[in-house]
Symmetry: C2
Subunit: 173 residues, 2 copies
């Protein structure tokens, strides 16, 4: 039995680049619209959902928080689409990812904590943990593919691999 | 000179049905996902953005509040797409709309105030005021069409028509 803890990283565009995009104003440019009443941070993440009969959908998610520490036992990927989550409650959540591929190497896992405002857009095929709210109930908007056909592969870690995730309170804010 | 005040209505799915959809959990059903950790309010508003070379885009908007009372002088419509706005700050905003058509009759104007959590999706061709934050700075996610070609028609009310909007504090919460 190998029990290890994943290091938890702050979510930055550079660190997350292999996996997708961060939906945030920080570090991005805007242009003014509506007679300068609004700053528009334009087209922050590719919505890649049209494969097959796919179309984009807007859904709301109400997420229960996970207890920490948490064992990472399963990841999923969407072979036909991207998937975006944007928080509607200003609270951090956890983002656990691994690069696209037929399998997931435990050494390729990365774990991030958001700053409370950041959303993420997982690129098609990127392995990721299901939505990981922490602390309290949290609401999200999801922008993903509505369509027929299988679009979710699961990867289960072998039982002897125990990769845990925890968070230091100082990392949340 | 005709100066009148628009009645301000609470935003409900029924009242807004001629213009689009409300993106909200209230009154909608969900199904559980992620081993019952998440309630998914699925596919709440049609994203109609593929006309021409259109594709869906996710943008963030940082909106200055308007001073009230406000004269409604101009509306816009998007002939090629829907447009969704979901608030990231829990504050009400105003939604002023008129039915699709070649022109806007002042008598067809409707004005709504959101409950602070509701988002809206304007149906293609629906006349609407630009984003109307009130009170304080407010952040929104916008899901709309990225693509070439003209996609914004403007309608200017004649100068002698002055249709005003105001809000009673009791209507905000």
């Amino acid at each position: 039995m190998l029990k290890s803890f994943l290091p938890l990283e702050r979510l930055t565009a550079e660190a997350f680049a292999p996996f997708g995009d961060i939906i945030q104003t920080t570090g991005n440019t805007f242009h003014h619209i509506n007679a300068c009443m609004v700053e528009r941070y334009h087209d922050l993440a590719p919505v890649d959902v049209l494969d097959g009969d796919g179309r984009p959908g807007i859904s709301l998610l109400v997420a229960k928080p996970y207890e920490l520490p948490l064992a990472v036992q399963q990841l999923e990927r969407h072979p036909r689409s991207s998937q975006a989550f944007i928080p509607l409650s200003e609270q951090p959540f956890l983002v656990i990812v691994a690069p696209p591929g037929d399998t997931v190497g435990i050494d390729s896992l990365r774990a991030f904590v958001t700053d409370g405002r950041q959303g993420v857009n997982y690129r098609r095929g990127v392995w990721h943990h299901v939505l990981l709210a922490i602390g309290e109930m949290a609401n999200f908007v999801a922008i993903d593919r509505i369509g027929n056909g299988p679009n979710c592969d699961l990867f289960d870690f072998a039982p002897e691999i125990q990769c845990w995730i925890d968070i230091e309170p100082s990392q949340i804010k």
